[in-house]
Subunit: 343 residues, 2 copies
Amino acid sequence: MDLGNRKRLILQAIIEDYVNTAEPVGSRTISKKYLTGTSPATIRNEMADLEDMGFIEQPHTSAGRIPSDKGYRLYVDNIMRQKLVNDTQRDMIKKEFLDTLGEIDRLVKHASKLLSQMTQYTSIVTAPQLRRTSIKQLQLIRIDNATVLAVIITDAGIVKNSVLRLMQDVSPDALIRITNMLNDRLAGLGIEDIEDFDLEYMLKNALGHEEIVEQVLPELIQTLVYSDTAEIYRDGVSNLLNLPEYSDIKKARNFLNTMEEKDLLFKVLNEARGDVSVSIGSENKIDQFKDCSLITATYKINGKTIGSVGIIGPTRMEYSKAISIVECMTSNLSEMLTRIIKR
Amino acid sequence: MDLGNRKRLILQAIIEDYVNTAEPVGSRTISKKYLTGTSPATIRNEMADLEDMGFIEQPHTSAGRIPSDKGYRLYVDNIMRQKLVNDTQRDMIKKEFLDTLGEIDRLVKHASKLLSQMTQYTSIVTAPQLRRTSIKQLQLIRIDNATVLAVIITDAGIVKNSVLRLMQDVSPDALIRITNMLNDRLAGLGIEDIEDFDLEYMLKNALGHEEIVEQVLPELIQTLVYSDTAEIYRDGVSNLLNLPEYSDIKKARNFLNTMEEKDLLFKVLNEARGDVSVSIGSENKIDQFKDCSLITATYKINGKTIGSVGIIGPTRMEYSKAISIVECMTSNLSEMLTRIIKR
DNA sequence: ATTAGCACTCGATACGATAGAGTGCTAACA
DNA sequence: TGTTAGCACTCTATCGTATCGAGTGCTAAT
C-alpha cells in the first residue's frame, strides 16, 4: 500500500488538522498551512485519489475532507511518528505515583484520573483481578463466638476479606487448627481452581470440625468468586462531552449510557493484550464504540498480568500522544504496584 | 399562609401536570383535566393571584405557568399526600436486598443502583464511613519476615486492611505480643481519637519492640485516616440526560462535571440528617444544584449513623414517590446492614 | 505534471411571515 | 360578589425563502 510521499503528507495534514479542529479540511487550508509549495488544485487532485483509495471521505459534496477509519489506521501504523511523552508529562506521571503510596486500589484509581486528565479523554481501568492470581495465605480471625473474619492474601498481594457467620460456636484454638488446614490445602491454588474444589477430601481431614468447615468453605468460595466481578473505575466521562462530536445530545446520552454498563466496559478491557493496542472506529466489535477509538493496555504485578487500562476518545484522537501516555502509565503502574507488594 | 381550597387544587394541578410534561401549564388544560367544573377564565384569575404570591411563574408573557421553588416547597410541606410506596416497589426493595448477601460495600452499591432505577433520577451514596465508628479489634498477620498485614475491624463491622513493610524482621510470637498490646490500647477508640494518639506511652510498653511499633503505628494511622476519604457511589447519571431540562448540552455538561466532583457530592451528602430531607432548587447551598432538587437521608448500622444516600433530580420531581422510595430504601438498608454485622 | 479559473453544489445563517397557545381585561351574568 | 364569555394582544416556534461562502470538479493554459 504505497502512496507517494506527497499523498502521505496530505493525509497527515488532513488528520492532524481535523484532530485539532473537528472541521472538514479543504484544499486551500492544506496549501496554506501544511504544503505551502503546492497549489490547492494539485492538492485537490491528490485528495480525489486518496478518497478513491478510501483513506478520506467527504461528509457532503461541498465540504472538505475528513479522515476515514482506514485513514487513521494507516496513520497510526505507518505515518505517525511516535510522539514521545514529553519530559514534563513523564515526570508528572512518575511524581504523581511516588506521592501515592498506599493501597493498591487507590493507586489504580489514581492512574485512571491521571489518564483522563492528561489525555482529556475518558479513561477506564479494571481493578486488579483476583481471577488472575493464586492464594498465598489465608487467615481466620475470630470476631465473636460464632463470627469469623476470613482474610485472603493472594500472591499478587491483593487482600480480600469476608465476614462468615457460623451456626455453632468455635473456640480460638479450633480456629487456628482450621486455619492451618485450610492453608495447607488452599495455598498455591489459583482462584479458578477453587470453584471445583474437593470438599469431600477436606472434610475427612477436618479433625472433628466438619460442620464448621462445611459452613466456612462454601461462603469463602462464594466471596472469592463473586467479588471477582472486578471493579471498574472511570474518570473524565465528562471530558468527551466537551468535544463537538457530542454536542448532539443523543450521542451524548448514548455514550453516557454505555459508560454505565460496567459489564460491557469490562468485556472491552479484558480483550486488552500486553502491549498497547488501538482500535479505531468501526474496528471495534462493540456497536456502541463504532465511532470511538479505544486504546488499551494491561498492567502487571510481579510480571503477572492483573488488570487493564484504556482510554476512549473520538476517532479523531491524538493517537501518538494518547498511545505514549497509556504506555508510560501502564509501565509506571506496574512498577509501582510491584514495588508495593514485593519489597 | 392559607390559600383557599381552589387555589390549592390549582397549584397541585399545575405541579403534577408540569412534573409529567415539563411544559408550562395553561388555564385551559387545568380546566379540562383537573377542575372540570371551573372555567378557564376563573382559573386564570386564581393563577394571577398565585403568581402574585410567588408560588408559580411565567416563563414569558404568553406561556402557561410553571411552579416556583416556593410553590414546590408548599406542595411538599402541605399539599402532597404522602404517596405510599406501592407494595410492588416495597417488595422489590426487600427482595433485592435479601438476594444481596455479602459484603457491605456491595450492599451499598446495590442500594444506589436500586434508587436510580426506581426513581429514574440520579442517585449518590456514601460508603460506610470509618470516621463514625470505633475500633473493635485489630490483627496483624505475618506475610513474610518483614511484611505484615494489618486488619482492622470496627464496631460497625467494617473491615480495613493495610500492608505494612517493616525495616526489620519480626518473629511470629513477637507479632502476637504486639498485636495484643495494640488491641489493649486501641480497642474502643474512635477513629478520630486515634490521630492524636499517645505514641510515647505506647513505646514504653513495647517490650523491646519499640522500633517495630514505631514503624507500624504511624502507617496504620495513616491508612485509617486516609482511607476515610470515603468512597462515593453514583448511579443513573445518564437518567437525567433523558429529561428535557438537560437537552441543553451546556447544562448537561455542567451536571456531568458536577457529578464527577466527589468532594462536592460528599459535602452535600454529609449535610444529610437522620430523617429524609428535601432541598428544592434555590434552597440548595451549592450553586451547581440551584436548579435541581435533592432528597437525602442517612443509614445506620446498629443504630449508629454511618453513611448517607441521596437522589438528585430536576425541581419538577415526583416528590412524593421519590421521598417514599428514599425512606424505604434507607430503612431497609439499615436493617440489612445491621443484620449482616450483628447476628 | 501543475496550476489558474470558473461554474456548480450544498450547508449554514438570517429574515420574514404565519400559526397557535395563552394571557389579561372588560363586560355581561347569576 | 364571584364567575364566565369574548376579544385583543403578546410572544414563541416553525417554516419557507433568499443569500452567503466554503469547497469541489472540470477544463484549459502553462
